[in-house]
């Protein structure tokens, strides 16, 4: 009896020590993860002199909030925000609707040629964008869409195959009897979709919406292919160009400040919807 208690005691003591060690490891790891981001923030508030000071200045003596004022002058950050918002919202809102309808059709309706359509779309996932980018560029160049936001919006409005498959999988768990009952009641398929299916799949749609939103907002390759005029560029391209432009003037506070501003909206969205985002990512991963 007494020997088991001592064993238990030593076990809890051992667990406590391991827990402390693990906690310290996690905390130091967290410092490594945060350090670059904090350093970006701190650089943005330094004077030019402090940026190039040796030994390094970690925390600026007098924070130069002015960086966040002057970055808007002679820059395209504002139009970059507007363009990114136009692209991201139109793609995700219209695209999600397209994808939900398609998922409903594939999962729950008598779709002719379903297997052919399904396998066809499946092959679409396997072809990477870099293989398609040159022909797509030429196609859009021929119809005069280069240097507009349309090549970034239009193809995505036609739907995202990965989102369709994810929603289809989610719909599998919806009982068919529900839909049959609605059909017998004389509901049109649009009504069934809008009044019944869409509310049911809303959690899955929300998850995909957030992930898609972040992916489009952060996209870089397609925007630099198509957007030439500075005031038509999305935010990511704008800050990349500022990086090139101001690096020659060694104005690192401005570059870092612009990057902070570019990151801020997504980080705020993430912090607000953290639980949903993390859940949906874990779900997407486990569903493959």
């Amino acid at each position: 009896m007494s020997s088991t208690t001592t064993m238990d005691l030593s076990r809890t003591a051992r667990t406590r020590i391991t827990d402390t060690v693990v906690w310290i490891v996690l905390a130091s790891g967290a410092i490594f993860m945060l350090a670059p981001l904090l350093w970006m923030l701190s650089t943005s508030l330094k004077t030019q002199l402090e940026v190039f000071a040796l030994p390094p200045v970690w925390i600026p003596e007098v924070p130069q909030w002015d960086t966040y004022v002057r970055m808007w002058e002679n820059s395209y950050i504002l139009s970059g925000f507007a363009n990114s918002a136009i692209v991201t919202f139109s793609v995700t809102i219209l695209g999600t609707l397209t994808c939900s309808l398609a998922a409903f059709s594939i999962a729950k309706m008598r779709l002719p040629y379903r297997n052919a359509i399904f396998i066809g779309l499946l092959t679409g996932i396997m072809i990477p964008f870099p293989t398609l980018m040159i022909p797509q560029f030429v196609i859009f160049a021929r119809i005069g869409w280069v240097d507009t936001l349309l090549p970034l919006i239009v193809p995505a409005v036609f739907g995202n195959i990965i989102v369709i498959f994810f929603l289809r999988q989610y719909l599998e768990s919806v009982p068919n009897s529900l839909i049959e009952a609605a059909k017998i009641d004389g509901a049109s398929f649009w009504q069934i979709f809008w009044r019944m299916i869409f509310p049911i799949i809303r959690p899955a749609v929300a998850a995909q919406f957030i992930l898609w939103f972040m992916a489009v907002w952060n996209d870089y390759l397609a925007p630099i292919l198509y957007l030439r005029t500075p005031e038509r560029q999305t935010l990511q391209v704008v800050i990349a160009n500022m990086n090139v432009q101001y690096a020659t003037q060694r104005d690192y506070p401005l570059i870092m400040g612009a990057s902070v501003v570019a990151l801020l909206p997504i980080v705020v969205v993430f912090l607000i919807f953290q639980r949903q985002i993390i859940e949906s990512i874990a779900l997407t991963g486990s569903k493959g």
């Binding site: 693990v22 008598r110 379903r114 870099p130 049959e180 979709f193 570019a262």
Partner: protein, 324 residues
């Protein structure tokens, strides 16, 4: 999808029978086939946009690319058919080989990142104070835009004033000028990729580990299995599907690395040591207007990625879509 057939048919048959009962002597099934046809039309209408999008923005471009890869073409003028010449050139193109080798080097980040992520996930599976805060911190780089992150790390890798060397100086190491040094430029980019992707893998591992039944681990412990044995015999096999998913999706993603390279090393790095395959393709196509040749390289890269994706579909049982 097989499951849809039975209840759907019975439901419609009931509907047809009800109609048949009302309209006397109407042949059974006529109403149902009319209903079927209307449903089929609606179903086709609902998938019309994705199917059209697939034809316009995937199938047509792929066929276009296949043809273009056999031509000499600057993107504007006429396409001159030259047979397999682009592919022959590609075999002897040192810059292309270099960019492919660089891309393979970047894949090194995957095992490093996965090992770290699994260790972190195991650590987070304990009952500790502040876990949600840690989880958020580790996850923040994942959601950050790659452009901003690349700009940040380019500056952090600055030889004289960058964060990395300032930190190394504190522990007495004189760091190189990372991105201007042909030896260190690729490892520098790998470190950045690991940093950015760590939180994502960690999260998926954590979800998988939490699904491991506690009773299994406890039973093993009673049988005298040590922590390492329990990890090897239970946890590791249980998280294998996640490992598999992460390996494949990250190979596909890393094989397409572009923004980091283009922003951090606009010229492809010292001695072209950082140029990735997509960077090289982009440069050939959009800076040097060698669209035909660039397309042939894009086809080669596309085939490689296609094969990897196919392996994922074939091997990952969770991913097998049931067809009827």
């Amino acid at each position: 999808m097989t499951s849809t057939a039975t209840p759907a048919t019975t439901g419609l048959a009931t509907a047809a029978r009800m109609k048949g009962a009302r309209r006397k002597k109407a042949p059974l099934g006529e109403g149902s086939s009319r209903l079927h046809r209307s449903e089929q039309k609606w179903a086709l209408a609902f998938v019309a946009l994705p199917v059209l999008g697939y034809l316009l923005f995937i199938l047509y471009p792929v066929l276009f690319a296949l043809y273009a890869s056999f031509t000499r073409w600057n993107g504007l003028g006429a396409m001159e058919f030259i047979g397999l010449q682009n592919y022959v050139t590609l075999l002897g193109d040192e810059r292309f080989h270099q960019s492919m080798w660089n891309t393979i080097f970047y894949l090194l980040g995957i095992p490093i990142g996965l090992a770290l992520a699994l260790a972190l996930a195991l650590a987070m599976n304990r009952r500790l104070v502040g876990l949600t805060v840690f989880r958020t911190i580790y996850y923040v780089p994942v959601i950050c835009s790659i452009a901003a992150i690349a700009i940040l790390w380019q500056w952090a890798y600055n030889g004289d004033f960058g964060l990395v060397n300032q930190f190394l100086a504190m522990i007495g190491i004189d760091g190189p000028n990372w991105l201007s040094d042909a030896t260190w430029s690729k490892p520098a980019i790998v470190v950045m990729m690991v940093w950015k992707g760590l939180g994502y893998s960690m999260l998926l591992y954590l979800a998988a580990i939490q699904a491991v039944p506690r009773s299994l681990l406890e039973a093993a412990e009673l049988d005298g299995a040590g922590a390492w044995q329990r990890f090897r015999a239970i946890t590791l096999p249980m998280v294998r599907p996640v490992t598999f998913f992460l390996v494949v999706t990250q190979i596909i993603a890393s094989a397409q690395i572009f923004a980091e390279i283009q922003i951090m090393t606009p010229g492809g790095g010292p001695e072209y040591s950082t140029a990735s395959a997509v960077f090289h393709i982009w440069r050939q196509a959009f800076q040097y207007q060698q669209m035909g040749y660039a397309t042939s390289m894009a086809i080669v890269l596309g085939i490689l990625i296609f094969i990897i994706t196919l392996i994922q579909f074939r091997l990952n049982k969770r991913n097998s879509f049931v067809l009827d």
